[in-house]
Symmetry: D3
Subunit: 340 residues, 6 copies
């Protein structure tokens, strides 16, 4: 179907206008989002042949989601039209000391209630080079965790590279299984893992002792060393780093460990954030794009961090810059100037 397949839930995002709280005005801005779909849209914008595998209901909202993905050039043949509803999440955009708040309404969504035969993985992954998943899907329901496991197993059989963004969300994982019990198994099938400190602890039982004054890079250095020892299948780990000075003002960087080295990226001081959500997914997309194009690990990390940096400037989850704009940022051409 496509070179890259991203498997995960896509939701309708309903955002209160400006910095308003939910229903302060009787209006929502709408968008679509979901960790793995965000990656797919970014990759499509970078010219990659990518498809999404997910489940969407047969109703006008599901139709609109399919049309939107098609508009971005994302393949939609792996979408199973089934189930009763598409999940929703509400967003209030914070500022200053009040963070952006996300309220989920994803109970009973099409992907959470998926059946064992809803995805024909050999067909979906036929000819693919890469499968991207995240730790969100296994958190939704037993059924969704099973589907994720099956997808990863099929990918391994077909020699498809598997990347996973661990993405631990404490408010999910309500169906009884512990994150670690599920994720430790799934990660044994993963090649490229994107994870942060919470993810290591909650999902992989990996905890590092941060030396006094140790910054995030040092912590990740220690954590990733342990994880790559514990999971010999992993060829590469990466993580992002965020200094939250305020809801609209963050420092941003990342680091990456491969089998033969550890890399830290340039640090970006993002003084005005248009939309925080989806920036980690843009990082993953930048990473996958670079690796697919045979970038060195260090280059891949820089491209990933720069992609995530630019994503802070774009409303909605989806990434909307071309490769050329990421390259301009990397080259120091003064992308922040007016471009005319």
């Amino acid at each position: 179907m496509a070179d890259v397949v991203c498997f995960g839930e896509i939701m309708l995002r309903l955002t209160a206008p400006g910095h308003e709280r939910l229903l302060q005005s009787p209006r929502f801005e709408t968008a679509l989002g979901g960790a793995e779909t965000n990656v797919a849209v970014a990759l499509a914008g970078f010219g990659i042949d990518v498809a999404v595998a997910t489940a969407l209901p047969e109703n006008p909202i599901g139709d609109a989601a399919v049309a939107a993905l098609r508009g971005f050039g994302v393949g939609t043949d792996g979408i199973s039209r089934r189930g009763k509803r598409m999940g929703i999440y509400y967003v209030e955009t914070g500022s200053g000391y009040l963070g952006t708040r996300v309220t989920y309404d994803r109970t009973g969504s099409a992907l959470a209630t998926v059946g064992p035969c809803d995805f024909d993985w050999p067909a979906i992954l036929a000819g693919a080079r890469w499968l991207h998943i995240s730790g969100i899907t296994p958190a939704l329901s037993e059924a969704a965790a099973d589907a994720t496991r099956t997808a990863v197993e099929c990918a391994r059989k077909l020699d498809v590279t598997v990347s996973c963004d661990a993405n631990y969300r404490s408010k999910l994982w309500n169906y009884g299984a512990s994150p670690a019990s599920v994720m430790k198994e799934i990660v044994t099938g993963v090649d490229v893992l994107v994870a942060g400190a919470d993810d290591f602890r909650e999902m992989l039982d990996v905890v590092a002792e941060p030396a006094d004054g140790g910054d995030y890079g040092s912590i990740f250095e220690a954590l990733s060393e342990q994880a790559m020892t514990a999971y010999p299948n992993l060829s590469l780990m990466a993580g992002t780093w965020r200094d939250v000075r305020g809801a609209n003002s963050n420092g941003w960087s990342g680091c990456l460990r491969c089998r033969d080295g550890f890399h830290r990226a340039r640090y970006y001081d993002i003084g005005h954030i248009a939309d925080r959500i989806g920036t980690g997914d843009a990082f993953s997309a930048g990473l996958i794009y670079s690796l697919l194009n045979d970038a060195s690990p260090g280059e891949a990390l820089e491209f990933a961090v720069a992609t995530g940096c630019l994503n802070h400037a774009i409303p909605g989850d989806f990434h909307r810059t071309g490769v050329n704009e990421v390259r301009a940022l990397l080259s120091g051409e003064g992308l922040a100037r007016v471009q005319r």
Copy 2:
């Protein structure tokens, strides 16, 4: 708690702008709606002491719904804060030959998943004169049907008048029970029933043979005669009548049968409809208001039809005129002129 209690589901309404189809633009206008709540809001606007009994989740969307009802002066003490989500319905506003389309996303809503002890009916109905329900709640789930039955039984014990808007919706009633099996029992506890031809047939097994060329009034005359014979508890039945010349242009009237007579109301030719949804609920509110104020059946019918007529002019489900504006329409003061 209040003179009138309305029991039923309240949903978040998401409307595409203007006459657009869903997600044609990335924006929704929001409102709240639900048959019984619409009645409550209209009654509050007419100065009646009214409260809503329903279930709403403990989240910002549920909070906003409670605040909105409070704003209209509707009592909210009978709202059980429970469950995972608030139902949603999407609206596309039709025009000409393309009707307004409603898409429901109410699976798993707080009221549909209510437990047997979530409502303390004796407390909720204490001191009340009137309970209003509709045939929508029993259509949601076994649990919701049980709650409706319990409410009606409690009302009868407390000598509270019960009104019911039959409101047959073919797309609901998915949990196994047939509408008639449930509704025929509930209706035995009802005093005032609002129903249309579909309702009679699907819910009460009452079918009239319309004489050739018989208009809606004649049909209702026949149907209601049979129904009031079959249900001796009913003191009054009413129904609305709509000539759909186009999505925005309807004829509108209603008729009413009481134990000692049959009444037909003035006919309104509504040439430009701002929002069709909720007009039947405004009719019910007008009827209840009048009966609570000891209007004669004929006056009550005229007031109800006029209230429903004005509701066509107001965006959203909720009614937003005072009694004075309904009276002005009834008095023929030329309400359609510019009022300055």
Copy 3:
């Protein structure tokens, strides 16, 4: 200053979006309006050299009003910048049987609190051919009535033609004087009077006995005959005629009496009204435009009625068509077709 001077209050108009009631959404569409200013804007759009005389406060709202008039090409040198506030009126746009509702907040406006020396009429009217006033200004306050009287007296001395739109508004006239006591004097200085049945009765003590079944034209024929006898200074009277079938659907025409005849205009069946307010002012503007351009009384009436007809299609009080569009309507070119 200009060929035509229009004297009267200009207000900020705050309109609820769509057909919403006031503050149903937390948003207002803004515009400017006022009977005499509406005439001025329409005349400027027809290429007439026209100026407004009014009073506006020295604040950003007053500044914006001046800028807006300047944008339409209306002269603003006759605007006295004084007083504490600019009047406001709120608009809810009705539909079907619910008429558009206007709520005034014009207490203490700059024009209502004008002083005797705030307008230098000889300077304002120097070189003018025409002064237009309405019966609204004298309704605001003693001071405003005095200013109107002075303006008319000065016009007579300078041989400036005076037109007046009687515009009786029952909710104004709160300062003690009766409409008739004030207007009967002012009308003695008027050449061209636009009036309707209410105006004749309340302002001129002229009442006609409508023959049974008499239409508006017949009534106006009788009323205007009496009025032109009572006021020998009047050279021409005109009135508009409206069949209010609904808030958005009106029949529209007008008639005109001059010293040597009576004319009735073509009847327009306006099936969809975008904005009712200001249509009478557009009629007056069409009349003045035609008379300034030496049209015959019958032609002037037809042009005036057509201008008013088109004004129903334009949001806001202000008229926004050129002479060419009025002419196209008069010529029967099928203006209602798509123009491309």
Copy 4:
């Protein structure tokens, strides 16, 4: 590339909000439109495999147009990315007696300045069953007329059916050639021609003598008879019929002549038009859809007229209903009722 190829210009449509005149508010609603692309979008919505051939500049506006078409499922491989700009048209939405007004800004557009080698017709039409063009493209420039001719010639060689919507626009055709000189040649390559009275006269030199009181059907009957004699290549002609009672209220129907008969369609009385533009294109799409699906001529005509009827209800040029909604209208299921 696709079963159906539509060749023609796509433009950015900038619409003033509501019924406002251009720039009355500092805002435009945006959409895309163009006669042949409108046909393609409607066909894609009906499940047809369709592609557009056009020229678009290499800039973000061109990118957005490509993405939008892709979103509708329209093939975009036949789009030549070239030239300096994409044409624009501005729309003011009329009401009552003031018609909708279109202002073009299409000078120097990518398609108007196309070169002789910009389209590889054999590749674009490879495997296609149908080519749709209109009389607008030849009106743009010599180069665009040449491209149209070449496309039709290539289609004939490849046995691809050719349909053409004559679409005479008096404000185009500015490059020196007369419409008839160009179109008479092109029509010799056409199988299915959609045309109206103006088109016959200006483009085909065919004029019928309407018998007194003859309605549009009779006129079209006469005109199409002459045209099908003059152009033996034509297998089918169709036209639409519009009674313009006001900018928002039209009667609508159509008729069709094939080699063995003449058909008139049901008449629709459209009382509230959301958007007039693109309705003729929806008619063409309905016709092509039906003929591709082996409908009888009479059925094809009814389907086409019903598609056009529904298109009046949808903002923007593009059609946005499924086949099921057209069928519901045809079956008399009361589509104008609220659908829930």
Copy 5:
């Protein structure tokens, strides 16, 4: 009526969109605001039983204000429906070096023209524990100053604690009385006074000699010491501290003096302000909330400053966070992160 009563004017706030200047676009965002009402809304959101005493006209704007307060759970029985208009204030939201600009249109408002018998203070304050006023009401008119005095006197008699936010506004106080002459008397009835350096100087004739390099805390320390000596009735004084680095970027803190000590609060560096207006009122609400809940003075100050800090993130005057969000900020939980 309620535990806490807030007395003061409520106005309609009309805000230009985004950072536009007034009427740059023909649109206003609407909200309600007024120092004392802002306090009431914040308290209601914190779960306090609070009511507003004010005067509002009997018109749809007044109705909407009452409904809005009711929606927030604020008691409205103390609202006198009288007078001709509700005051208005216009807001332009600044950025960088251009500050937010407020233009008042409050002449002749209902509260400014209140009569001596319009408030039945013994009834309004019956059962209350706290009365909150500000120095704005006495600045409006003689009548409003009298009403304030009467309220405070009544509170003293009933042993109701009185808080006052001094809120000196140089553009008010136009009716002849000097601020000090009025406020010095009122303050003798106050227990808790919120004031800044301007307030001390203009209203209390208290001026401190700031030692060289003295920061705001030192100044307030000196000023409050003098004031608490001069006014032995005062049990507690508090003030806020703002470093205006730009219209959108402020430092924010506060300090508090009680009879047995002086406290300084944590300093917040607010890098992106969504809406500056009402932050001082949120501070007062946080203070009152804490004192009502028996917090220590130091805790009360920290809660008040944190409430004010969060209010900078919320559009409109009204506060819209729960106690839990203020607590999260105080606990250092990283509220600025995305909350999901």
Copy 6:
């Protein structure tokens, strides 16, 4: 016609909402802009008698532009109504590391296709004291360059001071001529030149060797010294200085060389930029305003930089503050505080 004449192109500006990318939502905010017109609007707002000379098409878009200028009090008699279209530019507002992006669609605009006789310069400049041009107009086309040359020559003959903002734009200058070949001649007729480092290099062949660590002021000092030697006609040169820390956060200052000295202005740290475009034009306007009012060079520079600083706070190209607000910023009155 006016004291100051500004000659140059005016375009329609179409801005994506908020920080969205083009057509992310189907909506544009509209404005007008163009370097020289921006100067004219700012000057008019400062009370200067100023007119624009440009070419605009005879269509509703051209009409709206004329009306808008008239609204600002800018003279429009020097506007030649001709040509086929008005240029357009699209704006995406960046944030953080993603700069604002401008996409031009100005091919074939009225001014670019102007003929040699379209401007009657002696009439346009009659009585003027100042002509302002920029280096953008000569970049459009041969014809536009000719018109600029003719305007400058005529100004010299009439002793009108000429100012020029060099404004080098690399994406223009497509018609064959090199910037230097054209501009070096034009600059020989200029008295006051605003230029930056790019302009010196590309247009005047002037390059300075920045000493290591040399800031912009030092560079401009060197460049301007050379330029004023090379162009003895120049009496004054000025330039702005921008530290781009992010798309929304810039440092801003300027410097000025006159025949007897060099001046540097106060440095502004603009932490939140509402709209970057037009700030340089505001600088030029501030400079011209000051020089016309006989300010000293140093005062003129400070006023110019302050005007440009405030312009960053105002959406759209056009400046919208009065002289009083610039003065308040210069006087250090704390303009960033809330003004009430």
